[in-house]
Amino acid sequence: MRGLDRLPTGRGNRALLVGLGCLLVGGLLALTPLRVQLPSALYVFVEVGIVFVIYGLLVLGLDVQYGHTGLVNFGHVVFFAVGAYATAMLSAQDTFAGVGLGYPWPIGVAAGVGAAAALGFLLSATSIRLRDDFLAIVTLATAEIFHSLFVNLEGLFGGNVGILGVPRPIASLVADGDTRLVATVFVLGGITLVTLALLTRLTAAPYGRVLRAIRADELVTRSLGKPTTTYKTQAFVYGAALAGLAGGLFALYNGAVAPGFFTIQVTVTVWIGMLLGGAANHRAVLAGLAIIMGLRLVSRFALTVTPISGDVFAAVRLVVVGLVLVAVVRYRPAGIWGNPRELGVDR
């Protein structure tokens, strides 16, 4: 009975339990001879699912920045990219182009998180006091600068080819393709859920209340004696570090990084997911992201049944995505599950 009492009950704690469960299942699949077979119809779901849980980390970090603190970061992909590149460059072996130092991958991930957090700190130290829309521009320009660095500094970043030969820890443990995919989705999903639990605790704490107070009215918050710039910097760095972690995990899952994976499209996807679900609600932003990424599944299936070319379909999907963003901002500014009163968007 006492043991049961001590079992966590809150929402965040449930995510923690489920997340740890996922990690356990994933670990079992990776480390024991346990094997699963995946019906071929499910492949595409699992593949999109893996990208979804990685982007999930991105949207959670962005939600701390924008949803809770009101920082308009429109270059979120840069932290994702920096994390991925740092991880890849430290851990890659025999890369075709660019730098590959061949250190063990945990060092790579740590460096990825560190590099993204450092860039986040640098950016916030210089720009956090800018007005909302100008912060958006600075972060966007930063993302473009880094994208152009990745493409142009071939000796360092491998140009358009990127960095190959990044170790794939799960793939090296499991030879069987089906099991590898399932193990990957469980491990990465577990990490995302644990992150969700930690962030829920963080934002439910008085700390999170200060963040939301800053979003509502920074001047009032400062007049209550809160060092708002410090809080904003911290929130920005947390989001950046999470994106760096996502980048590191992406590099280790993918086995390679290239500029093509880190376009402004990533930023747009997580932003739309966040706004659609409802900013400032961790579970809602994940659900919103799932809806937007579900569109990708729809378009993949539609591709197989309709005679039009993939190029046309990609364009149609992006038109829909753009119009969804417009519609959400106009008709449901708090998102599907957001709280309009709390977000201060009811007009």
Binding site: V151, L323, V329
Partner: protein, 304 residues
Amino acid sequence: MGLLQEILFGLVTGSYIAIAAIGFTLIYGIVNMINFAYGEYLTLGAFVGLLASTALPVPLPVAVVVAMVGGGIGSLVLARGFFTPINQTGPVPLLLTSIGLGIALRNVIRLVAGRNARYFETETTTVRFDSVPDLSVGPVDLLGGFFVTTEQLTVVGAAVAVFVAVHLLLTRTNVGIAMRAMGDDEQLARVRGIDTQLVRDSVWILAGVLAGLAGVLMAIQTNVSATTGYSQILQILSAAILGGAGSPYGAIVGAYVIGLVIALSTALLPSGLTGLSTAAAFVILIAVLLVRPSGIAGTEVREA
């Protein structure tokens, strides 16, 4: 190639960026939004001009006028449909809406026009000045022979004409004075009996007309594709912010700074790194926002 030639290229680039940046900065100053879909307005203008000059066919100057009219109408329709209804929600929702609209427009254009780049057929005369002596300082040649094409002269000439026209509009006409009043203080302008919605509409039309012109000029210099305008939006934005968001005169200065920086960094960067020249422009943008966020001529954009 000498530095003089690069500076000339920079002036040409600066000219069409300046025309677009004026439109962009007027929207910023008066509607109070960063219009990220503005690059697509340029693309639309370029395609309208191309259509007019190939399908109709009309001579290029007429096609330019058609593109400007098309840009103005398109801009007003889009503003009425997407931006005017949420005018009161503040800068961030407007920015997000423009980003969504930009994605949608870009892909609609791609669906209709396909992926291939098209070209304006123009007759160009090149004037060469080969007799200018070299003046080498280290590896850099400061003077050297250079050439100018009539296309480039047209672009620069059109830009100067636009500067004069916009200046006269803003200082000599009622609607221009009303625009400046609204940029200054919207509430006060309304108290003085200015129809703010009418002024906003005229700003949208003016910005669309300028985008149409800039789009065609840009397309004559390079080509027309679905990403023609989008590839320039960050340069336009940098120019507008550099000059002080909301100030058309600042935007002109900012545009030439951006154009020259891009051209000079192409000249001075080692040959493998010339792709970084646009990045150099964004570095300047960030530096300006850090050191002097109000830009060359503008207002405070920092909150705290």
